[in-house]
Amino acid sequence: MSKGIPHALNKVVEPFLIIVGSLSISMMLFGAFVAAAGANPFEVYQTMYRAAFGTSFSWQNTLIRAAPLMLTALCTALPGYLGLIIIGGEGAVVMGGLFAAIVALTMPNAPPMVVLTTMALAGMAAGAIWLAIGGALRHYRAVNETISSLLLNYIAIALLNHLVTSTFRDSESLNHPSTHHIGEANMIGLIPGTDLHWGLVFGIVACVLSWFLMHHTVFGFASQIAGGNVRAAQIAGLPVGRLILIVCCVAGAAGGLAGMVEVAAIHGRANDTLNANYGYAGILVAFVARNNPLAIIPVAVLLGGIRASSGLLQRAHELPDATVLVMQGIIFLVILFSETLYGRFSRMPKQGAV
């Protein structure tokens, strides 16, 4: 028993220390970069803090940017448990938004709650099918899931562009082809007392539920086994194909929901703005969070904060927008390098325990 406690503690403390350490190193590297670009790194960090977390406006700015990233990060994180590297979040968002808008337009007289629920279901179903294609191709046809899910993004975008310029085009959207508006009454409102839409709540709930699913259910346990060793899982009689399909569906549903929120909370219609790279930013969040759904929440907030601070950095320090991309890149690389550190710290307590 006494051996178990430090071990469990280690499982929490080790990743925490490594992530905090790599973030600090990233900040030092980025500070050097900023200094080389002619700005004062301390002032830059101060500005970034003010723009991302300094006031209630900046907090809301950060959280609104983090909301879609929580959902799209799940697109990569959940299949990660099965050892799959799926980067098709963008496609899931696009398909989710597109089909959410389309179903809303087929029910002009339904009450808003019904419309919104149907939209959410349609968006989630569309996203689920989209990622499941990649998972199925992997399992049944041995197609590399990273490549196929990436290519499915382009197909989704092409399908969106085709449908909003033909069948579902609002003939009045001359220079910006879009579907018809779903109707003001059907828009998701704001969380009372804030300037934030409900997408944030969906994101947090989805992350918590996913964490519960993967860490506290038999299904999650089976998935982790299959992710650890497919052969062993198959010999043990686990239905690996079904696990892959279901996990990809859940992951895709999260992305599809993000697309539905874009339509129902912001744009009111589906058009090419659905393709806003949330899917790709989600990959970064999932990597940094090491695919852990609970860790996705703070990482998405951090990334949202970095994105939110870009504006003020440009205006106050006349740095280009690429500055925050450099910061994201540095963080990403340092965290990838830090992967090699896992397990090195745990040796010491084990020796001590013996």
């Binding site: 940017r65 562009n161 220079n175 870009s310 504006g311 003020l312 440009q314 205006r315 280009p320 927008d321």
Partner: protein
């Protein structure tokens, strides 16, 4: 020695204290606000990079021109997507920088983003590039401005037609939407006004910024035998540099790209946002009412034509200048019947005219006779 030493130290201390106090003064909010009170504060938002040699650079050049005025404080943000992020950028510019007027320059910023944010700040002006404002339908503090850049394209088309040996021009276009089609048609009509057999091969890439496809399209057009090319995409950089590499002529779009193609850049259709932004700044400074719609072409100075390359011979220059003079005097009507589309259908009957401001032109969905290509790409 020691006394003088002490004195120096004291001097040094006083000096530091004074400097510190000065620094404190500088940090206090009120002097800044007092100095900035009479300045016109203008915020600009771009969807792409400031230095894209295209749409965004054209606006950034306009911003830079107005920022030089000592009674203006201008700030900007680049690469802001057409999502809720632009709403937050607008709010942030008003709340943190005290912007009095905002210029969200991308077409997609208008609906729903400007329409959502503008009512929250009734004292701030939201001026959008794209000409979408409708009286009675949109908030009072919203306006829009746009230039008839197709007039410059007509002039550039004349130069292109005049310089082409094969009689085949190329056009790389983003999407078959009215604004783009109008540029293609004007370019074609300009070229055919001096050489009626000229054709224009058009390729639609499908989106505003697809560098790889733009390069492919340019190469494919050159392989089809065209010898002058132009485009309507967000950044003409790829098309222009590819054309230069392939040794053909090109005409630019959005802003001046002659640096990218010193050998082949004949002329180009450019925006002149500097004038628009200066005019707005002047109005705001004098507290004059701001018009809801500002539109215009060469005559009003909203668009211009790049300087002709030295290889453009006098005869071609004269033809281009003659057309430009007609635009400047307001007597030019490009869409004068009979005009057929490229499927042979008569779209404008003989004797019928559609002047530049005619709303009918804004829903254009056809390609004029002489264009090789289809809107159903």
């Amino acid at each position: 020695m020691s006394t003088s030493n002490k004195l120096t130290r004291r001097q040094l201390l006083t000096g530091t204290a004074a400097a510190g106090a000065l620094g404190l003064w500088g940090g206090l909010p009120w002097p800044d606000r007092a100095w900035g009170a009479d300045k016109v504060k203008m915020g600009f938002i771009f969807v792409g990079p400031r230095d894209d040699y295209g749409y965004n650079q054209a606006h950034f050049e306009g911003k830079s021109a107005v920022a030089k005025l000592d009674w203006v404080k201008a700030f900007d943000e680049e690469k802001v997507p057409e999502t809720i992020e632009v709403q937050k950028t607008m709010e942030s510019m008003v709340k943190l920088d005290g912007a009095q007027v905002l210029f969200p320059t991308s077409f997609g910023y208008f609906d729903p983003h400007i329409l959502k944010v503008a009512p929250q700040f009734p004292n701030i002006q939201f001026l959008h590039c794209g000409g979408l404002y409708q009286e009675g339908k949109h908030p009072q503090n919203v306006g829009s401005y746009f230039g008839y850049i197709d007039e410059s394209q007509y002039v550039a088309g004349i130069v292109a037609g005049g310089m082409s040996k094969s009689g085949k021009l190329g056009f790389v276009a983003a999407k078959p939407i009215p604004q783009v089609l109008r540029n293609i048609n004007n370019y074609t009509l300009g070229a055919r006004s001096i050489k009626p057999n000229t054709t224009v091969n058009v390729i639609f890439t499908g989106d505003w910024s697809l560098p790889v496809r733009e390069a492919e399209a340019t190469n494919s057009l050159v392989d089809q035998g065209i010898d002058v090319i132009t485009c309507h995409v967000d950044s003409p950089k790829v098309v222009i540099t590819t054309a230069e590499k392939r040794g053909i002529y090109c005409t630019g779009y959005h802003c001046n790209q002659s640096k990218l193609a010193p050998k082949g850049y004949l002329t180009g259709a450019e925006w002149n946002w500097a004038k628009v932004y200066m005019d707005y700044a002047e109005l705001i400074r004098n507290r004059q009412p701001i018009p809801h719609l500002v539109r215009g072409g060469l005559k009003q100075g909203l668009v211009k034509v790049s300087e002709y390359h030295q290889i453009v011979p006098g005869a071609v220059r004269n033809q281009a200048e003659a057309a430009k003079a007609k635009f400047m005097s307001g007597s030019m009507v490009v869409y004068k019947g009979p005009i057929k589309d490229n499927t042979g259908r008569v779209v404008i009957a003989a004797g019928k005219e559609h002047v530049q401001t005619d709303i009918w032109l804004e829903s254009m969905d056809w390609l004029v006779e002489g264009v090789v290509g289809s809107t159903k790409s």
